[in-house]
């Protein structure tokens, strides 16, 4: 047998889970932001109330591609997440405990008084991701004149998210 073929026989793959890649991505992006970004201090930060914050954030990350800001999470001594922040693009949203500040999750209140618009680059890919994560679709992607396309989805507790792609904007990839 040729030497190189013998060497090939010693190639052994190490098993890994895709979670390793996700963690790595998160750390890289956090490092990039820390290194180059000015500390973001938006003038307006919407605060959304939830019954179960940890579950809500996991869903928002999985379904909509939001990212929790790792340093923002506040956990009580009992291990309950009391507040955190998620970011998307150049924006942040607070994720808080319902009841605090007089605001309630739509799941408790049975109704919502707001919806939030999110501007994205690739609505079809985003929609597929939300579908795959089990988001409840309130309206499928549809065009509004020739300006933009949008769809709406509800998260685990019934907050309504409207995702919009401008049609005249060129997708990044």
């Amino acid at each position: 047998m040729k030497p190189v073929d013998l060497v090939r026989k010693l190639r052994r793959d190490a098993a890994f889970e895709s979670a390793v890649l996700d963690r790595g991505k998160e750390r890289l992006m956090a490092a990039i932001r820390q290194e180059v970004g000015p500390q973001r201090r938006p003038s307006i930060v919407p605060q959304l109330p939830y019954q179960d914050i940890a579950a809500a954030i996991a869903f928002l990350e999985r379904a909509f591609g939001f990212r929790e800001i790792p340093t923002a999470r506040r956990v009580s001594p009992a291990g309950v997440v009391g507040h955190s922040m998620v970011e998307f693009g150049d924006s942040v949203i607070g994720i808080g405990t319902q009841g605090a500040h007089g605001a309630f999750s739509p799941k408790t209140a049975g109704t919502a008084s707001h919806y939030i618009s999110v501007y994205i680059d690739d609505i079809d890919a985003h929609y597929q991701r939300a579908l795959a994560a089990g988001a409840q679709i309130a309206s499928a992607p549809h065009a509004h004149r020739t300006d933009y396309r949008a769809y709406e989805a509800l998260d685990l507790e019934g907050h309504r998210w409207r995702f919009v792609q401008w049609l005249r904007e060129v997708p990044i990839h």
């Binding site: 030497p3 013998l6 010693l10 190639r11 052994r12 190490a14 790595g24 997708p171």
Partner: protein, 182 residues
């Protein structure tokens, strides 16, 4: 729509640093497998993080005449692996035992012979000078072309060719029963 080349993405990341995330999306899985083959899963995760941190910091000096960033990223990984030679040697010996166990049922090679053969392959790889070993493993395990190995190790392609030839000759010498050291 055509997706932008790595060179274009890295170029854009100079003004929009977060664009660099796309380089991760494209290549992280390949590099994690590469690092895992060499050091095992646990060490590989840490090295992957280090690799991309370094790549991000050095993105200004990436040679944008190259379309793909993968060979360059392999090169950064190869340098990081130099610090983990002991772990690599352990893993190679474990691989040798497993390769021997894989071989013996289907062949008539006596188990002991197979075991000795592969342990000698492992020892021979270990005994190569670092530069030759790296070229050989990028070529044989990662299936990189000579050109890509040259880009990864920042060497002229002729040097890669001669390193691989030397590595082959040394392995042959160490492995052949009638060889000088056999």
């Amino acid at each position: 729509m055509n997706s932008p080349s790595d060179a274009e993405v890295i170029g854009r990341s100079l003004d929009e640093p977060e664009a660099f995330g796309l380089i991760y999306d494209r290549h992280a899985a390949t590099l994690l497998r590469f690092l895992g083959r060499r050091t095992g899963a646990e060490v590989a995760e840490g090295l992957l993080g280090e690799l991309f941190r370094i790549a991000f910091e050095r993105r200004k000096i990436f040679d944008t005449s190259r379309e793909s960033a993968l060979p360059w990223l392999y090169g950064i990984g190869s340098n990081l692996l130099l610090k983990h030679r002991r772990g690599e040697a352990r893993r190679l010996r474990a691989s040798a035992r497993m390769a021997a166990d894989d071989e013996t049922p289907n062949r008539r090679t006596p188990a002991l012979d197979a075991r000795l053969l592969f342990l000698r392959v492992a020892a021979a790889i270990e005994a190569l000078p670092a530069g030759e070993r790296e070229a050989l493993l990028l070529f044989a395990w990662e299936d990189l072309s000579y050109q890509s190995v040259a880009e990864a190790l920042e060497l002229p392609i002729g040097t890669v060719r001669s390193r691989l030839n030397r590595a082959r000759a040394q392995l042959r010498e160490l492995l052949e029963p009638g060889g000088k050291k056999g």
